[in-house]
């Protein structure tokens, strides 16, 4: 198809959901079925547009060099204009495939999951805007419009996380998410402004694909001595990623974000929010690279360390959680850390690859967990049949307050039961078979089950990259490699723990015993996602990949998809990333990691599944478990260090400085002025009688009008002002 046609479709791609948002918000907010039609229809339309674009460009290995672009003037700044536009390049094409696909499935799932919520239409409206913003972000050809959609997503996540606005835990989580990501955005804005001041443009192709500009940035010393402008701009922009993609130390918002309804978690963790952060870091990858070329590796080093720390931290905390969604939330943090670490060691393709596979299996896991919760909740209500018809609306709102400071009014009177707590589950495999199988597939992908799951291939690519760096004397790669290995073992362990605790053995609560499988609208998306969680990795098997005498690469070659992603997305880089020679050592590591972590999970949770009332084996870790369970006290630390201090600061300045110092000073000045005026009045009254009577009369007349207001002060003031004016005028004229 012609380029123009594809570009038109790209322009149109973000609009159907955004228009759907407006239509629902303005017209159909009272009509549920019409809302469903508009929301899902809009998303499907976007999917069609995006897929046409994707499948038309997917075979084009030259797309990286000659992306499809189109733009128009939007904001005049100074004597130039600021252009915004869309672009299809390999990176955005990949997202044009992943985002609408995952989003459409989440939409379908939501229509069933949120069906009985009183504010269903509002939910679908926000969800549409969320998806539309992500699409806009993906096709943006410049940082400014990317940022606009980025912030719009921030707003959507704020509204959706706080969807149950009447629950303190939910709206606190919403505000926390918005503020924490804003801290990152602050750096992003700085980076944006800095980049613009250096290059005069924010277009990705005029900066990141322009050798001259990159050279200039790498050669310019930054405002911080010892750094190049390229590295510093890159780090500022990466600050946005740290916020949006929940990297250490701004990771605290993401686990709380699960206060939103479960489909929102799937949106945030897979299709939108967190992916956007990595997406942007990939966009600016050439900047880090160009800085490293001239010997300034600050950016890569910091990014690598942050990624590695986050990967380990997330995996550790996930081990100590009981909430099925919280485990997944920390797992997302950890997996995002893998991607960021990959970027830090120069693994552009590896990071993009893992982002893609992760989006599918994490969406699957979240929707699966939602299905589990829905099922258990259903069993719970079945048990306590009160005859209330709104139970389905409450599955999220019902329990998310658990463990928080809110146990207020609840007409069910049984807040103690938490259907998200894995200790209340067990034995669901036979009761919810589709959920069980698909969730397990997602879990295996997360664990990196060798050769059969997508997660294996992408994780292996990251480890392979790190291993290659390590063996070639890069200390950062060494750190990353070993940290990620440990994190990966933990990942396999906590995932196995989660699967066994949820599905294996006998039910540990009556609710779990009465759980039932969900309708097709919820299980169908799970099946589709499971398919991709298994297969999407095959699009990037290195040609020479061979393990245990099976020539995987050659097989993939037979299908013509060997290393497709590497060739395709690798075209994004100004200097093509050298294809690493195949090395079987990291593959052995990957396999062993899966086996070790999986074995530990099997040993503690699989062979003799937890029985009701039994203690979880990880609790034997004692103080370590307590620390992990309390999320390593990050929230407490931030509350003490920042939030409380800010509050105290604010109170102090408000009471002491503003009301105290400044106003006291003013009042004193006023008192002195009045005294002086008093002196002048005496002078005026007794000496310049005639004149003062005249002036006084005028003022008194004015004053009479405002008698209600005050008595005398304004006259005093006006008089002294007049006199002061004369005195100072003389002063100026004499001394000028």
């Amino acid at each position: 198809m012609s380029k123009e046609f594809l570009l038109t479709l790209t322009w149109l791609a973000p609009f159907p959901p955004i228009i759907a948002f407006m239509l629902i918000a303005l017209f159909t907010n009272k009509r549920r079925s019409l809302t469903t039609l508009i929301a899902v229809g809009g998303m499907l339309l976007t999917t069609v547009f995006s897929f046409i674009v994707f499948f038309n460009v997917a075979g084009d290995h030259k797309l990286g060099e000659a992306p499809l672009r189109s733009q128009f003037a939007w904001l005049p700044t100074g004597d130039t204009t600021f252009n915004v536009g869309v672009a299809v390049d390999p990176l955005s094409a990949l997202f044009l495939f992943m985002v609408p696909l995952a989003a459409t499935l989440i939409f379908i799932y939501s229509t069933s999951y949120m069906e009985n919520d009183p504010r269903y239409t509002r939910f679908m409206a926000y969800l549409s805007l969320f998806a539309g913003s992500m699409m806009g972000l993906v096709v943006s050809d410049n940082l400014l419009s990317l940022f606009i959609f980025w912030e719009l997503m921030g707003f959507c996540s704020y509204s959706l996380i706080g969807f149950f606005y009447f629950k303190p835990s939910a709206y606190k989580a919403a505000v926390k998410a918005f503020m924490t990501t804003r801290v990152g955005d602050m750096f992003l804005i700085m980076g944006m402004v800095y980049l613009y001041s250096q290059t005069g443009t924010l277009n990705f192709y005029d900066t990141m694909r322009n050798e001259e500009v990159l050279h200039h940035l790498a050669a310019t010393p930054a405002i911080i001595p010892g750094m190049t402008a390229a590295a510093l701009i890159g780090l500022f922009i990466f600050g946005g990623t740290v916020g949006k993609s929940a990297q250490f130390p701004l990771h605290v918002w993401l686990p709380d974000a699960m206060e939103g309804p479960t489909p929102v978690s799937a949106m945030i963790h897979a299709a939108t929010m967190v992916s956007a952060g990595i997406f942007m870091a990939l966009r600016f990858f050439p900047l880090y690279e160009s800085a490293a070329h001239v010997g300034d590796t600050t950016a890569f080093t910091i990014i690598g360390w942050i990624g590695a720390i986050t990967a380990l931290l997330g995996a550790l905390i996930a081990v100590g959680q009981y909430d099925i969604k919280r485990v997944l939330a920390y797992s997302t943090i950890s997996q995002l850390g893998f991607m960021v670490a990959a970027i830090g060691i120069g693994g552009y393709v590896a990071a993009a690859f893992h982002l893609l596979t992760h989006a599918f299996f994490k969406a699957l896991l979240f929707l699966g967990s939602g299905s589990v919760i829905h099922g258990v909740e259903h069993g719970h209500h079945h048990l306590h049949a009160h005859g209330h018809d709104d139970h389905a609306s409450s599955h999220d709102s019902h329990n998310a307050g658990h463990g928080h400071d809110d146990h207020a009014a609840n007409d069910h009177g049984h807040t103690e039961f938490d259907p998200q707590d894995m200790r209340n589950m067990g034995g669901l495999w036979s009761r919810m078979p589709v959920t069980f199988i698909t969730f397990t597939i997602g879990g295996l992908a997360l664990m990196g089950a060798p050769f059969i799951t997508a997660g294996f291939w992408s994780k292996d690519e990251i480890l392979g990259h790190a291993y290659h760096g390590m063996t070639h004397g890069n200390p950062l790669s060494t750190v990353v490699f070993w940290t990620l290995c440990v994190a990966a073992v933990l990942t396999a362990f906590y995932t196995a723990r989660q699967i066994f605790m949820t599905f294996a053995g006998e039910p540990r609560s009556e609710a779990a015993a009465h759980a039932t499988e969900n309708p097709a609208a919820m299980t169908f998306p799970l099946v589709v996602l499971a398919f991709f969680a298994l297969t999407v990795g095959y699009m990037n098997i290195p040609e020479d990949f061979e393990f245990a005498y099976i020539k995987f690469g050659a097989i993939a070659n037979g299908f013509g998809i060997d290393h497709w992603l590497g060739h395709f997305v690798g075209g994004m880089l100004p200097v093509a990333e050298a294809t690493l020679p195949f090395n079987s050592v990291p593959v052995v590591f990957s396999v062993c990691i899966f086996l070790l972590g999986g074995f530990l999970g099997l040993w503690f949770y699989g062979l003799k599944p937890l029985k009701a009332g039994e203690t979880d084996p990880v609790e034997n870790l004692g103080a370590i478990f307590t620390a992990l369970n309390n999320r390593l006290y990050f929230d407490e630390l931030y509350r003490k260090l920042i939030i409380n201090r800010l509050q105290r600061f604010a109170d102090y300045y408000s009471n002491n400085v503003d009301k105290g110092f400044i106003d006291v000073f003013l009042h004193a000045a006023y008192a002195i002025l009045s005294d002086i005026a008093e002196v002048f009045r005496w002078f005026d009254k007794n000496i310049v009688t005639g004149i003062s009577n005249l002036i006084g009369d005028v003022f008194r007349r004015v004053g009479r009008e405002g008698r209600e207001l005050q008595t005398g002060q304004v006259q005093n003031y006006l008089l002294s002002a007049l006199i002061a004016a004369v005195v100072m005028m003389v002063f100026f004229l004499v001394f000028q």
Binding site: L75, G154, F166
Partner: protein, 494 residues
């Protein structure tokens, strides 16, 4: 056509004619007359906007008449790309404020509406005067109606607040008066353009300071801001809207029009200090806003913070910074004006502005919640709304001037989100103070203190919608705004 040469005078003095009519005619007609007069002024201003020539850097629609020729004082009005937008903002905000007065003003309507119209004339005069003396007359005159509006229709501590407002601003302008007299005497004329052309005082530090202090108090810049929260808290809703949206802009407009143009060298010298004060104000205002429990006080301090960005842009002294500052003046007028309207709606219903007494209003008043959210987001600087464009352009300009202070200024954007969203959360989210909401969103009334709160009526919506439309308009398509101002800003900075 002859009438064309009197356009600006028409815009400026139509409100005065309205005020006279109000005094002469019956009380029942006051509001209608005020509305008609302010709208008439708006329509004429639209004609000016329509035939405004973007390419022309100098003043357009100039009107001159000798006033006191012995001293070189004349009646001279004119509009350029800078004052154009402030004029438009003024004529746009006043009808809205008058429209929104019906609930807040319960007595002496006649005097009230006359005073509001007089204030409109005075502020328009400030923005359109091209004679220093004339400017000063309007400048001082703008104080008086506001003083009475706060003092007569204000809250509990209105006497203190109105006095503080009046005296503080007046004290600042005394210095300016002296500076104006000095310049007029030395330059043999009070004509603004002539004085700029003479450039006698380009490096005069004391004259710069005399003007700067007057304007800094009006803006208000840290540390001259303490009159603003008091004035806002006591002022009736429409008074707050006018104060925030229009009166504060007199200060920032003055800094551009007089300080930058008359004293370019002194401005360069003082720019570091002004930038520092601006950034301190941004952060200080934001932090103190965070500690407030009264909604109006919170918004007043947020004004201190937001006006800091405008000062930062102005004293970047480059095209980006100044253009951003001018746009941000309009933005601040729209979003802060809107926020004060929003507070007014709830005050008329609950008779309190204490956030501690509110909560869960979203459930009862979803339309109100949506309107408030839009203004909050616009104020926070969410892209696609107006605030972002202004802040972004200002930061671009400021970064070229001083990266370090600009970096500190961006912290204000985070803090802005903190206090505004916290306010929104306290007022709209969660559970009402008088009722129990179960975890399903179903409400059960417990007591009926704020029971029966009604959502916004069409009158209230009508006052908010024009503001919202322009919040989106500027956020999505700011080009026409920049196009009209760029030539004049370029000339001014030359």
């Amino acid at each position: 056509m002859y009438i064309y040469s009197l356009m600006l005078s028409l815009i400026t003095f139509i409100p005065v004619i309205g005020a006279l009519l109000i005094i002469l005619l019956s009380k029942q007609l006051s509001r209608t007359i005020a509305l008609v007069a302010s709208l008439a002024s708006f329509v004429v201003a639209l004609l000016v906007l329509n035939s405004f020539n973007n390419a022309q850097a100098g003043f357009q629609f100039v009107e001159v008449a000798p006033w006191i020729p012995q001293f070189g004082i004349s009646y001279k009005l004119g509009v350029d790309g800078i004052s154009l937008w402030l004029m438009m903002l003024t004529v746009f905000i006043f009808p809205i404020a008058i429209w929104a007065s019906s609930g807040a003003i319960q007595h002496d309507q006649k005097i009230y509406y006359a005073l509001v119209l007089l204030m409109e004339t005075a502020t328009l005069g400030v923005f359109l005067s091209l004679d220093m003396f004339l400017f000063y007359v309007f400048w001082e005159f703008a104080l008086v109606p506001m003083y009475f509006i706060i003092g007569l229709w204000g809250g509990q501590r209105r006497i203190y607040a109105s006095l503080k407002f009046f005296i503080y601003t007046m004290a600042g302008s005394v210095l300016m008066l002296i500076a104006i007299l000095v310049m007029g005497v030395q330059g043999q004329t009070f004509d603004y353009e002539a004085l700029v052309k003479q450039g006698l005082h380009s490096a005069n530090m004391s004259l710069f300071l005399a003007f700067a202090i007057a304007f800094a108090i009006k803006v208000p810049m840290f540390p001259f801001h303490s009159w603003l929260p008091d004035a806002h808290v006591e002022a009736p809703t429409p008074g707050s809207v006018i104060l925030a949206a229009v009166l504060l802009k007199m200060g920032s407009y003055g800094l551009i029009r007089f300080n930058l143009a008359l004293f370019p060298q002194a401005s360069q010298q003082f720019a570091p200090v002004m930038i520092m004060l601006a950034v301190v104000g941004i952060l200080y205002g934001a932090i103190v806003a965070f500690a407030q429990s009264d909604m109006k006080k919170l918004i007043a301090y947020s004004s201190v913070s937001h006006m800091g960005y405008i000062i930062l842009g102005i004293f970047s002294m480059n095209e980006l910074g100044v253009q951003g500052a001018i746009l941000q003046m309009i933005n601040h007028g729209l979003s802060t004006g809107g926020l004060f309207l929003v507070v007014g709606y709830i005050y008329e219903r609950m008779h309190t502005r204490e956030m501690g007494k509110m909560g869960g209003l979203w459930a009862k008043m979803p339309v109100y919640g949506t309107v408030a959210l839009l203004f909050v987001l616009s104020s926070v600087g969410l892209p696609a709304l107006n605030g972002f464009v202004g802040e972004f352009v200002i930061l671009q300009g400021a970064f070229q001037r001083n990266p370090l202070w600009t970096g500190l200024a961006t912290i204000g954007m985070v803090l802005g989100a903190v206090y505004l969203l916290t306010m929104y959360q306290k007022v709209f989210l969660g559970k009402g103070k008088d009722e129990a909401v179960d975890d399903h969103g179903h409400h059960r009334q417990v007591a009926s203190a704020s029971h029966g709160l009604l959502d916004l009526n069409w009158r209230e919506l009508a006052s908010a919608i024009p503001l919202i439309v322009f919040c989106f308009y500027i956020g999505l398509a700011s080009t026409p705004f920049f196009n009209a101002m760029s030539a004049s800003v370029g000339k001014l900075l030359k």
